[in-house]
């Protein structure tokens, strides 16, 4: 046993010493954040600006300053009352019970009165503590509610580049882990921390009042406890961090291997997967055993320190009582205080960690909230208009839809000028790169005249999707200009610009809700009839009516219950319902088989009538009837023209095209 024990200590020392985790190594926390389930919550990142962040959190909580003060007062009452109540033991025994022993005629009325007073104190303490918890709960819940709302609102305005750089999981953990930590801290942490301090100070004062001599021993004990908690706490945090990091890695492996289980089976990789998992699992288990051991070993140690103090005090207190310098009641109370005084030390040290982790979480939340929103300095708005008899345009009343759109340009004199939306889109010498030095588009110039259908073709990664992402200003161009009806898109309000563009994106994302609601997403005030008409146009009506509940069928999990083709049809219908002056279709029909696509085409033709349309497609049959086909390679336009012209040129388009018919 001794041998084994030593080896445990040796191992423990090794684990703490060797490659102690670097606190600033962010990758650890990524793993922690990724690990699903409980245990991913707490972390030990130090906040950068503790005071500022704390004040800002309290700002959320402290809309009502009086409430703060009230909570503080109630906390003082409840903690004070319970301290007084515990002190009551002394007078009860010394002044009211012990004297009774010698009384021949026992008169219990004095004792009864004292107990009634005590009852009052107890009730006051319980009520005050209930009030404190209740107030803190309300405070915590509503401030977290507001925090989450602000966070969500801020997210909606962030530029697309922000979402490219931050994985969803990371942003999700702002809402889950970080917001939860803040809530926990406000609900319990602060109260426990403050009441811990009050209890500690109060107990010490009472002990000093009872006997400052005995307190010398207690003081030594308290000091020892502080040192122990701090010392062990430091090491156990190191181990805990290691445990969390290996947990994150292991959970990541489980997630990945089970996600890819079909591939694992296709490659008969099972045994190798088991081996890797086994190693990660062992690593986590060992880390966790040591972290858990050191984390809980503090309790027996603290207990022993306290118990020894208890024994020494009992002996010395006994002597003092013998000498007549102390009473039995005082001794009893004092001994109870010994148990009470060390408890807050451990608790406060735990709460301090929680508080710091909450502050660090809040700091990350505020970082998102404070992030610069999408750039939008445009002033030109999009409005619906009426044609006056004399050809002038007048803005319609709110909510009235005439089907005529116009740009509302501010004039220098403070008035407005209306210019009818025609749908001319002109890109002039557009340069763009996602990362500096790696140009994606190099001087692209395209002019789509009103009502034209422009098709972009080219191999994967040539920059086709990028062009459409620049027209709607998901990304900002590096140089060049994009003009919409002659207005620089930078001068148009982003919301106005995007309302003018009907987009069907490469990834068809649907929302939880009914089929009808998903179509209506394109135009929130659309009637059922309008939605059904759009679905018919997109050729989606047929399959929708075959769904179990037709248009009321619930769509869940991004439309997992639909096929990819059906999802695309819905996405088209969603865009169709809004009747935008300009349409952008990015691989809108890639997963729809060619026969169905032909059917959609017919519907789409009516939808696109008179509109400017940009189409991106792999399948050349989709783009064949475009007014102009633009072939893009490596970010440059290599060819342009109609289908016939390009075939005649026998260039890149011809190659791509005949690649499809190489049999001939």
């Amino acid at each position: 046993m001794a041998e084994k024990r030593r080896s445990i200590w040796a191992q423990l020392k090794e684990r703490i010493a060797v490659d102690s985790v670097d606190v600033n190594d962010e990758s650890i926390y990524k793993n922690i954040a990724r690990g699903p389930g409980p245990g991913g919550g707490r972390d030990f990142r130090k906040p950068k600006d503790t005071k500022g962040t704390l004040l800002r959190i309290l700002g959320y909580a402290g809309k009502n300053k009086g409430m703060f003060v009230l909570i503080l007062v109630m906390m003082l009452i409840s903690t004070g009352c319970s301290l007084v109540a515990s002190y009551f033991l002394k007078p009860l025994i010394d002044d009211y019970i012990v004297p009774l022993i010698t009384q021949p005629e026992k008169d219990y009325s004095a004792l009864a009165v004292q107990l009634l007073i005590l009852t009052g104190i107890y009730l006051a303490s319980a009520l005050a503590s209930y009030f404190t918890s209740r107030a803190c709960m309300n405070l915590a819940q509503w401030s977290t509610n507001a925090l989450r709302r602000d966070l969500f609102s801020a997210l909606q305005e962030l530029p697309i580049t922000y979402f490219d750089a931050h994985p969803h999981g990371e942003l999700m953990s702002r809402f889950t882990n970080d917001a939860d930590n803040v809530q926990m801290a406000l609900e319990q942490g602060l109260v426990q921390f403050i009441s811990g301090i009050i209890t500690f100070v109060g107990t010490v004062v009472l002990m000093l009042l009872l006997s400052w001599k005995l307190f010398i021993i207690t003081a030594v004990t308290i000091a020892l406890s502080f040192i122990l908690v701090r010392g062990v706490g430091k090491y156990s945090r190191i181990l805990f961090k290691k445990q969390q990091s290996s947990l994150g890695i292991m959970n990541g492996n489980i997630e990945e291997m089970l996600d890819g289980l079909k591939v694992v089976k296709a490659f008969s990789y099972e045994e190798r997967a088991k081996k890797t998992f086994g190693e990660l699992n062992d690593e986590y288990r060992e880390n966790s055993i040591f972290a858990m051991f050191l984390g809980s070993a503090i309790f027996p140690t603290m207990n022993a320190v306290m118990n020894i103090c208890y024994a020494v005090t009992a002996v010395l207190g006994g002597f003092m009582t013998l000498a007549g310098r102390f009473t039995i009641g005082s001794l009893g109370v004092y001994l109870n205080y010994i148990r009470q005084v060390t408890m807050p030390i451990n608790m406060m040290s735990n709460q301090a960690i929680n508080l710091f982790s909450a502050i660090a979480g809040a700091e990350r939340i505020f970082a998102v909230i404070d992030h610069d929103p999408e750039l939008d300095e445009g002033a030109v708005d999009l409005v619906t208009v009426n044609h006056g008899k004399d050809g002038t345009l007048t803005e319609t009343e709110k909510g009235e839809r005439t089907g005529f759109w116009a740009w509302k340009l501010p004039r220098e004199d403070g008035g407005f000028e209306f210019r009818e939306v025609q749908g001319s889109v002109r890109l002039q010498d557009v340069h763009f790169s996602y990362v500096p030095e790696k140009p994606v588009l190099k001087g692209v110039t395209v002019w789509a005249k009103p009502g034209q259908k422009i098709a972009f073709v080219g191999s994967t990664g040539a920059g086709k999707t990028t062009i459409t992402n620049l027209i709607n200003r998901f990304y900002e161009i590096d140089s060049g200009t994009i003009l919409f009806d002659g207005i620089d898109v930078k001068d148009i309000k982003k919301s106005a610009l995007r309302r003018s563009l009907g987009m069907v994106l490469q990834d068809t994302n649907l929302f939880t809700g009914t089929v009808m609601e998903n179509i209506r997403y394109g135009k929130l005030d659309a009637t059922d009839e309008e939605c059904i008409a759009a679905a018919k146009a997109a050729n989606a009506h047929g399959f929708i009516t075959r769904l179990p509940d037709g248009y009321d069928t619930m769509i869940t999990g991004n439309g997992q219950n639909l096929s990819q083709g059906q999802r695309q049809l819905l996405a088209i219908a969603r865009t169709a319902v809004a009747r935008h002056p300009v349409m952008i279709l990015d691989e809108a029909t890639s997963s729809i088989d060619t026969r169905t696509e032909k059917l959609i085409d017919r519907g789409m033709d009516t939808l696109m009538e008179g509109k400017t349309v940009f189409v991106i497609a792999h399948r050349l049959s989709t783009v064949r009837n475009a007014s102009a086909i633009v072939v893009i390679e490596h970010g440059e336009i290599v060819e342009r023209g109609s289908h016939d012209e390009l075939l005649e040129q026998q260039g890149r388009y011809y190659m791509l095209y005949t690649g499809q018919s190489e049999l001939d």
Partner: protein, 581 residues
């Protein structure tokens, strides 16, 4: 649940038994201290016996040290036992899931399997850890403390005997209520998280439709509902503390009143009253701990059930126990379907996905499968490596029924590029090595070249050592598909199946990949599922599937004559365009 709690201790079993023993030893001390203290007061102080006081003090110190030592031992073994249990359970689950068939995976869904292996196991482990300490300790402390009090005065003990059940039942019923309320909280939380997740995934759609305000409103509702649910649940919880305190205080008052009178009449001594009051906190704490752990146990039973569901699932596809080794040689990849029908749910009325298919493919042939969405193309090829078993009929590979193979032999003979293909965290090299564990760099590069992937891999800063992020998010769709093809080509299988695995690759590159198949995998039987007609026209055989049946089969020329569906597909993609042009 019982099987799970008993079956997974393995070499940590000794810790399971050592823990409670030392926990008990530890608590003996806690129990002895107040008694010793009362002896100091009643015997030492009252009798003026200094030596006795010192003896008691020394005994107390000794006990404190013993308690610390037992505390260490029990803490160590508790950590070992709980983690050992969790670790063994996880291994058992992971290993068992590896045996699952595609059907089993579909039934559970991957996400649910992940939760069961990670958070369910952890919750059960936490419960076990708490139970180990508390289930024996709390009743023990309770009983001993009550017994000691009884020896002082049975009348005072009576107060405890009334208070204990009240506290116990009170806590249990509140916790029940809380559990119900928290189920609601969990639902609201899930709903809110789903909202956020959806919003993040679809942020481009949100922005494209300028729906920020609408989304905010949607979120505000979900957020407020969560807060209201939380307020109700937490509101009950926070009442629990003061309520328990009130019960505790009521007991204290009773003790003062009755105990004080007994001290006055000399029935008990004042030191004993002090001790009884000291025990009060301990007894009440034990009751509280016990009821909490009991609740935790009931909660973790749900996790246990979910874990047991996984462990009790008999994988529905396994090698026959007597199956002999039968590796498939590279040039012997013939495939025969004999009257094969298939549906996903074996029981019940599920629709047949494949109906009575019969065809045969000679080694080295290239077979293309075409047909509309849902015509059964993927289902058909999934039957060859036995990812699913045919409901009727049989499939022969190299003349042997696939069900008579050892599964590892069959699957090493079949290379598969799945529709939803996945790359794993690790370098590109490690990913390609999945195809052949001991391949050299030359072989890997050759495979990458064949899959038209070497161009972009060699341009990456770290080449083969480039790290792939989880889910392969740092390569484009087309690159991912080509890496997956390389991985399968490195295997050099007898049969290679490509399930719509070049959809993101442009036709030019794709035709070069097909050329390298012809060149490098001469003997390999290749199945290709593709939307693009250019991918299939050069196949030796083209299978046209319609609604789970073979509509027709033959070469491109033959099908152009005989199959209206094929003609239609071809026309829609090529012919019409040409005649226009």
């Amino acid at each position: 649940m019982r099987e799970i709690l008993t079956g997974y201790w393995g070499k940590y079993k000794n810790s399971l038994f050592i823990t409670p023993v030392f926990v008990l030893l530890e608590s003996v001390v806690t129990l002895a201290l107040p008694t010793l203290m009362s002896n100091i007061v009643d015997i030492g102080v009252a009798g003026g016996d200094r030596a006795y006081i010192i003896r008691c003090g020394l005994l107390m110190t000794l006990l404190a040290l013993v308690s610390m030592a037992s505390g260490f031992v029990s803490t160590w073994h508790a950590a070992r036992a709980a983690n050992g249990f969790g670790s063994n359970l996880r291994v058992a689950m992971f290993h068992h899931i590896q045996e699952f068939s595609f059907g089993d995976i579909d039934r559970f869904s991957t996400a649910s399997l992940v939760t069961r292996t990670t958070s369910d196991v952890r919750q059960l482990q936490n419960a076990v850890q708490m139970m180990m300490r508390t289930f024996i300790q709390a009743p023990f402390q309770l009983i001993v403390a009550v017994v000691i009090v009884v020896t002082y005065s049975w009348k005072l003990a009576l107060i405890y005997l009334i208070a204990i059940p009240v506290l116990f039942l009170g806590i249990i019923s509140i916790m029940r209520l809380v559990d119900r309320l928290f189920t609601l909280v969990q639902q609201k939380l899930d709903a809110m998280n789903a909202d956020i997740q959806e919003n993040l995934i679809a942020i481009r759609v949100v922005k494209a439709f300028v729906r920020q305000r609408y989304e905010r409103e949607k979120f505000r509702k979900a957020n407020d509902e969560l807060t209201h649910a939380n307020l109700r649940a937490v509101g009950v919880i926070i009442a629990m503390g003061p309520l328990a305190t009130i019960i505790l205080n009521a007991v204290t008052l009773c003790l003062y009143w009755f105990g004080g009178r007994m001290v006055a009449t000399g029935e008990i001594q004042s030191g004993q009253l002090l001790a009884v009051i000291s025990y009060l906190t301990q007894i009440m704490m034990s009751v509280m701990m016990f009821s909490m752990v009991l609740m935790q146990y009931t909660r973790s039973r749900a996790c246990g059930k979910r874990i047991a569901e996984v462990l009790d699932t008999e994988p529905d596809i396994r090698s026959k126990p007597d199956a002999a080794a039968h590796p498939i040689a590279r040039d012997r990849g013939s495939v025969v379907f004999e009257n094969v029908s298939f549906k996903y749910s074996k029981t019940g009325t599920g629709e047949e996905v494949l109906r009575d298919l019969s065809f045969s493919v000679a080694p080295g042939e290239t077979v293309a499968i075409v047909g509309g969405t849902g015509s059964g193309k993927s289902s058909l090829v999934n039957l060859i490596p036995r990812f699913y078993d045919a409901t009727e009929g049989r499939i022969l590979v190299d003349g042997t029924d696939v069900r008579d193979y050892r599964i590892e032999d069959l699957r090493s003979g079949v290379g598969m590029v799945l529709q939803n293909n996945i790359l794993f965290t690790g370098t590109i090299r490690e990913n390609i090595l999945w195809g052949k564990e001991d391949a050299t760099d030359e072989e890997i590069i050759q495979a990458l070249k064949n899959a038209q992937a070497w161009d972009f891999v060699s341009e990456m800063p770290d080449g083969l050592d480039t790290q792939i992020h989880q889910g392969g998010t740092n390569v484009s769709g087309g690159q991912k598909q080509r890496l997956c093809i390389a991985r399968a080509m490195l295997k050099h299988p007898a049969i290679l199946i490509l399930d719509d695995s070049t959809s993101a690759v442009d036709s030019d590159t794709e035709s070069r990949i097909r050329e390298s198949f012809k060149r490098e995998l001469k003997d390999t039987t290749v199945f290709i599922i593709a939307q693009r007609i250019s991918s299939v026209v050069s196949a030796d055989k083209i299978l046209v599937l319609d609604n789970g049946r073979i509509e027709s089969m033959g070469t491109h020329e033959e099908l152009m004559q005989t199959s209206p569906i094929y003609r239609d597909i071809y026309t829609s993609q090529v012919k019409e365009a040409l005649s226009d042009g």
